[in-house]
């Protein structure tokens, strides 16, 4: 499941909701990404294309569910202007066993960081600049494209 949120997200409540009513799941892993207080960052502005961004993320989730045989996965992404310290993304995955859950969450985040249709502007004391995926983000993604499923 995918959700874009223009209001603050509550990772604790999202995880609690995600865990409710599970019977086959033995392991759940969640990840929360926060806006860092660095380099004079005053806010991060995330722009999505509603109706285009969600299906693209749903495809990423479907890929993770198939690859790691997950029971379920959830991605909630903030859009709009987000202050330092606030959550920008929350991902949770459920699987029968922990290894698939850890790998599934790792994979989902790597794909979200480089392949999800968002445009990100960093508002800093010195002005605003558009941010693109870093070489590190591309390297993280490449791990999955060369790695065999365990």
């Amino acid at each position: 499941m995918v959700r874009l949120s223009s209001t603050p997200i509550d990772p604790g409540a999202l995880l609690t909701g995600f865990l409710e009513g599970r019977r086959d799941t033995g392991a759940a892993v969640s990840f929360t990404g926060l806006v860092r207080y660095d380099d004079g960052v005053e806010a991060l502005e995330l722009e999505a294309y509603p109706g285009f961004t969600e299906p693209a993320i749903a495809d990423i989730i479907a890929g993770a569910i198939e690859r790691f045989a997950l029971d379920d996965a959830l991605a909630v992404h903030r859009i709009g202007r987000i202050p330092p310290g606030a959550p920008v993304v929350f991902v949770a995955v459920a699987a029968r066993h922990r290894r698939a859950a850890f790998d599934g969450a790792d994979y989902l985040m790597d794909y979200l960081k480089s392949r999800a249709p968002f445009w990100k502007k960093s508002h800093e004391a010195s002005g605003a600049r558009w941010v693109e995926p870093t070489p590190r983000d591309h390297a993280d993604l490449a791990r999955w494209e060369t790695m065999e499923t365990r």
Binding site: L112, A116, W119
Partner: protein, 84 residues
Amino acid sequence: MTAGVRVLLFGPLRDIAGWRERMVDQAPATVSALKRLLADLDAPLGAALDSPGVKAAVDKTILPGDPTLHPGCEVAFLPPMSGG
């Protein structure tokens, strides 16, 4: 349904153009014809639309080649994505 097309710009493109959304009254035949029309109105935007990595989605779908436009369609110009 109007005879025109709705044009949407994302990311740095909207800073270059100074707008996010605009109606073009007469639908050009294709995406490349729309780009030429926009370039005639705003040369820096035209150059940005032709830069590498800028994709066009017609009615929220990215198609190969030079997709055909139809009245009432929505064309979004998508610069390289930042990711989440």
